[in-house]
Symmetry: C2
Subunit: 147 residues, 2 copies
């Protein structure tokens, strides 16, 4: 059972020490970069993904300033905990959290991944994200979940 | 002539692309890490160090939550611009900026560096920082400037 917890001054160093698998480095910005970006995002949340008391991943999500809908900007599971189904469970937790905090008019959660990132594609599709046909932003396939 | 400019959503990616010289990597956290930390610091400023329109370095400074005095937590010049005296000039700009924003009761600026970082030691001493005898925090020598 996983849970989410806000990134604060007490756990951010743990967060930036997490790493994806070597072959996925090209797909995901480092957590230091994600937290650097957090300074400049309004209405965004950085949450540690916890297995019991251990942070095993990071999620960055909030209201995009362009379309005013929820976006997941970043989602990673540390390499030591990959392949155990935690990615799927973590995405569900993020969806639940967005359901809890969103306002009535928010209807979708959007994200994107590199077309060659078949692992991300599979995880998100299992949870119910659907690729938006032909919508590629910054070379990434856009995928959307209806709340 | 250098100047300082606030790090915003328009220049943070430039900031995290700056690098110190290979042999100094062990002395200074990456700018992504410095900006990650910025989220969790109250009363802190991240400023790009600019030469004309080009960002050549980064400074992170503000009021320390423990002693309530000003500290420079991070200061770097990109490797392409090192050895040109910009470090010294940048530190002077930071001192001037702190003089402008500080309240009456703030009397000092403090920083620390690894004892083996002779370059940092020299730059800060030239500008007027004085090592605090025997004060080592996290293996770093503490040095202080009187405003």
């Amino acid at each position: 059972m996983l849970h989410l917890d806000t990134i604060t001054k007490d756990n951010w160093i743990t967060a930036i020490s997490l790493r994806v698998r070597e072959d996925q480095v090209k797909f995901v910005a480092s957590n230091a970069v994600s937290l650097a970006q957090l300074n400049f995002l309004e209405n965004f949340h950085a949450k540690g993904i916890y297995h019991d008391k251990e942070m095993i991943g990071l999620a960055l999500y909030g209201i995009d300033e362009d379309d005013h809908e929820y976006w997941i900007y970043r989602m990673m599971i540390d390499h030591k905990y990959q392949g155990l189904g935690y990615g799927k469970e973590a995405v569900k937790l993020v969806i639940d959290d967005i359901r809890n905090i969103k306002e009535e008019h928010h209807k979708t959660i959007t994200l994107s991944y590199e077309p060659t990132n078949v692992h991300a594609k599979r995880v998100y599709e299992k949870v119910g994200f659907q690729e938006v046909d032909g919508l590629i932003i910054s070379d990434e396939q856009v995928s959307r979940f209806t709340l």
